[in-house]
Symmetry: D2
Subunit: 383 residues, 4 copies
């Protein structure tokens, strides 16, 4: 097993290495009748793609996605969706020095030790480039969620010691895509940008964190205990490259809160239904969504590939040597990590929408494909 699958019913299976011929993924379990074009997917790929700004790697990848199957006349058919993204601008030469001398804190050593070999070009399978597949699959998940009235967004809330103040969901939506850092708070974005530039100049990199939020999630998603909504989000987010922490609701702060402080009393909403008066619980109670917004935070450590000289140990020559990682790398990960976090959030939620029966696994409502058989008694929608 090599961990290239995500999802129980909405299943994503990926392949591809950083400097290989192509990246690709297969999406199984997407209901039929969803309007889907390559543009729908490209939109998000462009937000993740390299070379989009001064603070991202200069590697030039158009990341053009091609749909090979599962879509006909602009609608999904309910069968597996095959996506392929060609790699265009790979320059492996730069990595030569590191073939048998692992980059510090990178996956070079662990992959080589595990498999006795590795695709060394640009980090091969361990490269964050692989997340292009996640974002592609996530774009499809988002389209399904939008139909159900579920909105989600992420933004960068910290870079190094620059922390943005809390912003509303609306501010995230309005501002986070306006600046290269993808921070929903313009002033902080500027500070972050300058900080990144400084580290970049001195050949170093810096860490940061991403906040995410989902609205309109119905009550009842999650399969406690081991597949509770928080457990599945934990897996999804901890899979994001360079992630060292996952929090939801109060996160680490919860350690200092008392039960009385944290508990959200119950009131009635306008329809007379129980509703929490606050949302310190983060939208998840007992591992199941409560109907309140789900929010949390993901911490990403600084990129390990830096131009600064570092010591490595060459297992072929047995020599210690000082090396600089010349390749083209990001000085910071969160800005490009935003669409990746959104994708994992979307993939997790859409999977539970299917698992809870909220989404029909065979076909989407009211969006029949071209050869409709809606009148047909065998059509689940007509029963």
């Amino acid at each position: 097993m090599n961990g290239n699958r995500f999802g129980r019913l909405f299943q994503v299976t990926t392949f591809g290495e950083s400097h290989g011929e192509a990246m690709g993924c297969t999406i199984s379990g997407c209901p039929a009748g969803l309007e889907l074009t390559e543009e729908d997917i490209q939109k998000d790929l462009d937000r993740r793609k390299p070379g989009q700004s001064m603070i991202t790697t200069s590697r030039g990848e158009p990341d053009d996605v091609s749909i090979k199957s599962g879509v006909q006349d602009g609608y999904t058919t309910g069968t597996p969706i095959g996506l392929v993204i060609q790699n265009k601008d790979a320059r492996s030469g730069k990595y030569e020095p590191f073939i048998t001398a692992p980059r510090p804190s990178h996956g070079d050593f662990t992959y080589s030790a595990k498999f006795g070999t590795r695709n060394w070009g640009g980090g091969g399978r361990s490269s964050a480039r692989e997340t292009v597949n996640w974002v592609a699959a996530g774009a499809i998940a988002k389209k399904l969620l939008e139909r159900e009235g579920i909105e989600l967004k992420a933004h960068v809330n910290q870079i190094g010691d620059v922390e943005a103040p809390d912003v509303s969901f609306e501010e995230m939506l309005e501002h986070s895509e306006e600046n290269d850092v993808r921070c929903g708070h313009p002033e902080s974005a500027e500070k972050m940008q300058n900080l990144i530039a400084d580290y970049q100049e001195e050949g170093d990199s810096i860490g940061g964190s991403i906040e995410f939020e989902a609205r309109g999630v119905p009550v009842g998603l999650g399969a406690p205990r081991f597949d509770s909504l928080s457990a599945r989000l934990g897996q999804a987010m901890m899979a994001v490259p360079a992630t060292t922490a996952f929090e939801f609701g109060l996160g680490t702060e919860a350690a200092e809160w008392t039960g009385k402080e944290r508990n959200d009393d119950w009131a009635f909403d306008d329809e007379g239904n129980p509703t929490p008066v606050e949302n310190d619980h983060g939208g998840i109670q007992g591992g199941i969504s409560s109907g309140e917004p789900i929010y949390g935070e993901v911490t990403l450590h600084a990129p390990t590939s830096i131009p600064k000289s570092q010591q490595t140990a060459d297992w072929e020559t047995g020599e210690l040597k000082e090396e600089k990682v010349i390749g083209r790398h990001d000085p910071v990960l969160p800005p490009r990590g935003v669409p990746v976090v959104e994708a994992m959030l979307a993939l997790t939620l859409v999977d539970f929408m299917l698992l809870s029966g909220r989404l029909n696994p065979d076909r989407v409502d009211g969006q029949p494909g071209k050869y409709d058989t809606d009148y047909h008694p065998s059509n689940p929608r007509n029963e």
Copy 2:
């Protein structure tokens, strides 16, 4: 979930429709260090491909496979292997009449009813063309099994009322690839060929069956109860398009045998180990391999797409009509089914070789990749 995955540890995930842009599959769980080229895979694809003889569809597909990832310098890297096979010769026009008028006993109706739509070109996802993915993945499984001394082969033992006499494994190997029918018994092959030609001429098709055998399977494969070796083979073989029966050992005949007749007494082999004196049990006891050859049979019904006029019901016009299926179709399935059955047998066995610990999941023995770290203590092989 749309059933495009097979295997627990050696995992195959497929995509593609008969007349779509491309077919493809991702193989996860193939250990690193296996020597692998596109030719290794092409060999088997050529045995399955259309247009190879008079008794196969005239559709012209080169079925050239392209390895997109998971292989470096001729060796697997342990990461997902992405394969893509372009579709070249698709002529969907021919299917127009059947868009809303299902072909008799084909998947047209069930797919349309389930999804409210379907990719109607050449049967779309339900086409046997999809098995090109299985054969590609199976070719990799076979390479792994060969290293472990496991040989397997299948051949056509019946077409219509022409039954071949029992043949030995050696005869299968020697003769089955010599004739277009893929029968291990030359005289029978000729009779079958003539029979097929007759049905083809009158615009009809005919059923048949395939025998398979695996040798050198070690004792101890299988995970009873629900994943017993027989249960997993049952799933694997019943997934083969047009299959209506799966048998192993005595198969349906077992109903008439007594316990005393069927039971295989125990003796000792040359090394003084218990070994059955016969193999009426078919190589599986209590759902686990016994070390004896595993053999069985698969029955495939006649192709449903025939030039003969048949009645269909058009759900758009509400009219009954007589239609002939003009497309290019096989008059019989077993000849091209042989590599498919071999592939499913290989995929099932390699999965259990991994599940039983007989195959190291991370890397193949004695076949290090280019950047070997065999001397390394972290290398499982050195401990």
Copy 3:
């Protein structure tokens, strides 16, 4: 992995050995609100239990089931259902001679070779006794299917060379539980009974087969390719102890039928919907249910444990010896296999009802639990 789980969404997990302290299984994924009592389960357990007639083992097991969780006030709660069945009448002594000298064609040798040990009492885990868990879980599946208008039944259609003529579903229902053999054709039942008595007398055993049929299965169940309805049934039925063949529709006969003969033309039903004029396809087209009855057959070989003297090889002493299996065993398996086959059919169908969204995974309609919140907007049923 040791293969003790079945089902994707309706998940059954079992434990227990023939002569261990208890058998048990956990059912996950049963929707809330199903009325369920121990009697509902006991009904089917009594049909499978030993000592029920002259032609079953004399082992006296009441097989009383105890529900440990997942049910409250007579309704399922949607959480895992834990079932335990105590073993009462175990006499392992009888097996002493076979501890290191395997019974012919039994799982003794393969289990010992795989694990280096085995629970030798009465076959331990490999004993058909383990199917008590399957029948218990199957009884719950049946209750869910009945609510959806799906009926299913199995009966014994062959013992040795005595074959029953085809019987209708109604005859199966009416007659198969009237006689000890569980054959839907009374005259054949009598012949079978006599035949069994003869073999029993001479210390031998005999094989046979079971026919099954399911009615009211909606169009659209099945997840081709690898999880097609036929593939999943193949796994389910081949897991049944002693099964050597699985057939659906025409089964092995299909080899001799032409496409024109086997294809079922389309007509319109009273509501003007396409419907096949016959059912030679067995209720499954393209791996998906067609709405027609699903029928098939399972062949079970003769019980391997017989009082007749057989040769075995003792791996401890290195001696060959003649042994009689004294324990209490069935002279034939199909009569007790009928509820087992029904259970596996029910478990497979209910799983697909959930996978297709036909059954709500969280709660059953119109059957609220005691603490109903149906008025609640967060209740999927009200949206």
Copy 4:
């Protein structure tokens, strides 16, 4: 699916509600030949059980575990291990007021909304009582890991605003079980204990956190990307009741570290193999274990059930009311959470030991069961 399963090859399946008849779990995939007694499991259950000190609920549960299958003569047989733990001291009466009026921030509302009902006694399935199953399964995992030289331990490092200074693994081992708080730093333990007592007195509860560490984990565990070691730990730990954050290595601090600061240079160990000079990476690089100790932290929010009066909304009467949760509850969770975190860590690691081929899935080395067949060629160990 209701999320009661954990593990790919070492599979745990649980059942049981807080005030039901019994709790239980089935462990599949434990190799044969492991010496195992009920005492081995009881040891850890006693560390988790209620009523063990002043700062735990006064509910009196002996939590005696009974092994129902999978063990013979003190050794595992390789078949499923069935465990049952009777519930003895359940007093549901106390919960009456909350049947239709959910406890603030508890699972009462979400379970009722999802299933339309719930087992309301003591929180039913959502109760932390269910973790008794996890600890039982974890005890078996620990025994397997010990054989491989893998040690693991957790301790409480924070309660409210009392943070313990960093302690060594040895200190954790030496001190954490000496005090009721399970803190490896005695002075801090005392402060924590007093703080808890204060909150308990005023009818409130408080949060805290648990640190864990594993030593001797070989290089190469983990299946990136989606099943990276960090992702699987993320799921495992976020499943722990009341968990709001999971961190490994630097955790949230990583946001403020530069690449140069965080990267661990490479040196050579005594055998001349690459080894990191520090362990800021937390034992995981590229999602795969690096051979360095794996350490991290889990934050648990304060127990939601508190004697303090809180507002709830009764959906049956439509009234708001002030209620106190009278039941017997813990004022703080980390002390009893320590064995739970250890269990989830052990279950995750043993699963990867099997997935990486480090542990033989069929049988443990050098620990043959009573009926050994080690001399047998079919024994994997001898080949």
